[in-house]
Symmetry: C2
Subunit: 213 residues, 2 copies
DNA sequence: CTCCTGTTAGTCAAACTTGACTACTGCCCA
DNA sequence: TGGGCAGTAGTCAAGTTTGACTAACAGGAG
């Protein structure tokens, strides 16, 4: 699963109605250029594709007041909302160590009820444990671990990473259980989009690290 | 940077002369199906592309004795070897948290001299520290960290991950310094390819976790 | 007035990735 | 003796991603 569809769906959903450039800006506001590969081309492509698949409804609008070519605005459909929630759930539980999917999942977890978010994260912890067990068991050769040579370091790295993630996830679950953040159905949601005309405090003007690849 | 070119170049290089199916098998032997997206299509595509770019030399051969279509064998060229070493160096130093590139880098680090590997890994540690400093400084809003809401958790995750990786890398450097593994120019290198006809102890027959995505 | 730069908004070809499909051989087993 | 399965080797179309490019307007400098 690529994170782009999730990010774009989520951005359009929070906006209510948005065109490509607004989605781009929202993603930058979320710092997504740091951890996802959300280039303009990918974003516009995802919008068109999902419109074709009925997840978004496209509206052609008059050329913008602020210059530039005519734009297309998008709204999320019923099917799109379902797909969005499905993707959030999948991203929260699936352990596949992709930073972009993981980060997007956290960004959107508050769109689920609190209890469900906790349950899904606990499922994630469980999956990490299973993965760890399977990998350590499978990749210790009968002749002893030394037989793998430096290749064994790769396994070592995986396990180390998995442990770190598991620890972090447990911490997150505790914070959520302790009442942190505002989840679906708990009143005023956290505002994660830029209002029209609001400037982006995290804009890329002054070069973040890792901006380019 | 995608890990596929690095993996394919490295596999062909270790084999001396290899066709696509052998590369596929080597990657599976290395467990690369666990952490990289090395599907058949990508591998064959990379081979052709790199042959076109002069990094590999292609040899058409008679249809295999073991059935199947006629195969193409590849050898690495001078330019290919240079590109391979360049990619290994880049993958070792660049901190971009992609598991596949990182894992491949470790797999091939022994193709460099020991001192250089240590130096590159130390550069990596330095880069992680810089990235961490920049991110923590930049993403703490003036109004206090609470202002970010649950979005702050994403930053928290990055930092946690970066710290874990930094710790692991320091451990690796120490092990290498302590004389572990056999590096370039230190005698008999570690054999990382399957001999002709040798069966793969890590074949995917019995389903690893995470096999499918 | 004209040029230059910055912002808004998006397109496009080329490259890459995916997953399903083809085609051929050997071998087992009924 | 022929049908099916497993292994070998690779192709292909459809989809996705990349990075560079286009185009229009606003505002300020000269």
């Amino acid at each position: 699963m690529s994170a782009i569809r999730l990010l774009v769906l989520g951005a359009v959903r929070q906006h209510g109605r948005a065109h490509g450039y607004q989605v781009r800006n929202d993603l930058e506001y979320w710092g997504a250029h740091e951890w996802s590969h959300a280039k303009p081309g990918s974003i516009y492509h995802a919008l068109k594709q999902m419109a074709k698949q009925g997840l978004l409804r496209a509206h052609e609008t008059a050329p913008s007041t602020a210059g530039g070519p005519p734009r297309t605005e998008y709204e999320i459909t019923e099917a799109g909302t379902e797909e969005f929630l499905r993707l959030v759930r999948e991203a929260l539980t699936e352990y596949d160590q992709k930073v972009d999917v993981k980060s997007a999942a956290i960004g959107f977890m508050v769109d689920l009820p609190r209890a469900e978010a906790v349950a899904l994260l606990e499922e994630r912890i469980e999956k990490i444990a299973q993965w760890r067990a399977a990998v350590t068991e499978h990749y210790i050769p009968a002749e002893g671990p030394e037989q793998l040579g430096h290749i064994g370091e790769i396994m070592h790295l995986w396990v180390h990473t998995a442990d770190a993630e598991s620890a972090w996830t447990r911490g997150l679950v505790e914070r959520i259980r302790g009442g942190a953040y505002t989840f679906a159905g708990e009143g005023e949601p956290f505002v994660g989009v830029l209002a029209d005309g609001q400037e982006n405090p995290y804009a890329t003007g002054d070069r973040h690290p890792q901006d380019d690849h």
